[in-house]
Amino acid sequence: VTSWHRDERVLWRRSFERLVLLAPGREEPLVLEGTGRLVWDLLDEPRRDSLLHATLAELFERDVADVDREVTPFLMELRAAGALVAR
């Protein structure tokens, strides 16, 4: 994976600190909170994998390697749910 972006077919709304989205082909909505919502907001335009991790590392004052380890499974999960597209 070199870059991530939102699937443009996803329908979504912000709701207080949460974000609810309906991915194409999925019956149940997904609700994102905390870092999940932040990741969604950061992907308002396609982002390179490395840049996304670096941004999160800077925001949370963590090592990029730690962020990579924690965030990558989450990104993969959103991809599997049809919310994100990886290129």
């Binding site: 699937d7 077919r9 329908l11 709304r13 709701s15 207080f16 600190e17 609810v20 309906l22 909505p29």
Partner: protein
């Protein structure tokens, strides 16, 4: 502080000048959250009027006082409404795909179109159904396509061809129980008869949804539609409908001269004037705009008063609307056809109304006609 005054502040949140409204009344009362019973009342209003998006926006901005528990409840209320809205938008996309695939033009009214075009965040504007506008010539075909997708019509039309000629449209119910309003014009009766329906399509704009572009009314036609809905939709105007009008004025998206021109062409000056007065009465908003300058002081004629009364007065029967509509139709033939089609219901329509519905329906119609004629 009462639920009603709190609700009004919710409904105007984010409009220019709303800060001044928030400061009233003096004495620091606005620093205190609602008590439990007033909060419960507020939640009932917010749910019924679908204002949870504005409540969310106001609370996120810390513009209104609230307890932690009240904030949690508001959050759950909004999340629930968001899920409904997303499901409706998914349905909307599927319907528009099917309709456009067979060449039927579709303009989305209110709901999703308003949420995406008018507000800083679509999460502000909640809605409970989808409203689609079709060209008169394609209306029957559209209903056929929608029937194939599981949308049935609980009430059959008054008479064959009525929909295409005089009807507002049809309310349909889908297999999932979702409601869909299929429109041919923006409203039934007097004011619906004078709208240039071609203009609604010719001046349409688009908004993005789910990776594609859907059509919505253009700024000027959209503003007038918002006025019709706010001024004539309910006897007690809905705050959300008035907010849509105020939002459109605040956006300044429209050409004021064109709005005034359309209002005159569509004989809707009295509707706009009534809307502006309702915004002042119910939202405390005195809209200053060239449209308001031109139309706010419009004095309704007797005919206009009678027409408005048929939508929001004490007698809002179908027959009353028919009588009030006659001056808005040109020519004896059109008037005769309108009366005939409206007072000679098809069997299916009558069949919904009691054991001896035909007689009851005709009787009610005649009584209303006489009443209307006396005024």
């Amino acid at each position: 502080m009462t639920a009603g005054s709190y609700l009004r502040r919710v409904a105007v949140f984010g409009l220019p000048g709303h800060d001044a409204a928030m400061r009233e009344p003096p004495g620091g009362v606005w620093c205190q959250p609602l008590d439990a019973s007033e909060w419960r009342e507020l939640v009932r209003f917010v749910r019924r009027l679908r204002l949870s998006g504005f409540l969310q926006a106001a609370l996120v901005a810390d513009a209104l006082p609230v307890t932690e528990e009240q904030r949690r409840q508001a959050s759950e209320l909004h999340l629930e409404a968001c899920i409904t809205v997303l499901q409706l938008e998914r349905t909307l996309l599927a319907l528009v795909d099917e309709l456009e695939r067979v060449g039927i033009e579709v303009v989305v009214l209110k709901g999703s179109a308003a949420a995406h075009l008018l507000y800083p965040d679509p999460a502000w504007r909640m809605f409970g159904d989808n409203d689609l506008l079709f060209r008169s010539a394609q209306f029957d075909d559209a209903l056929t396509v929608l029937a194939g997708l599981g949308y049935r019509r609980p009430a059959t039309p008054l008479r064959r061809g009525f929909d295409r000629r005089f009807g507002k449209g049809a309310t349909l119910v889908g297999d999932e129980g979702d409601e869909l309003d299929a429109h041919r014009t923006l409203l039934f009766g007097s004011f619906g008869l004078t709208i240039d329906l071609g203009e609604l399509f010719d001046s349409s704009v688009t908004f993005p949804l789910g990776g594609r572009q859907l059509r919505a009314l253009g700024p000027e036609a959209g503003l007038l539609h918002a006025c019709y809905h706010a001024a004539l939709g309910d006897p007690e105007p809905r705050l959300g409908s008035l907010r849509d009008v105020a939002q459109r004025f605040a956006l300044g998206w429209h050409d004021p001269e064109r709005v005034v021109e359309l209002a005159r062409d569509w004989r809707a000056e009295a509707v706009v004037a009534r809307t502006l007065a309702l915004c002042a009465d119910h939202l405390g908003l005195h809209i200053e705009n060239p449209v308001a300058t031109a139309l706010a002081d419009h004095r309704p004629t007797r005919r206009e008063r009678r027409a408005i009364d048929s939508y929001v007065g004490g007698n809002r029967s179908h027959a009353r609307k028919v009588v009030a509509s006659l001056p808005y139709l040109d020519g004896v033939a059109a008037k005769a056809a309108f009366v005939r089609d409206n007072l000679s219901p098809a069997t299916g329509f009558v069949g919904l109304r009691g054991d001896r519905p035909g007689i009851a329906w005709v009787g009610r119609g005649l009584r209303s006609l006489r009443h209307g004629g006396e005024r």
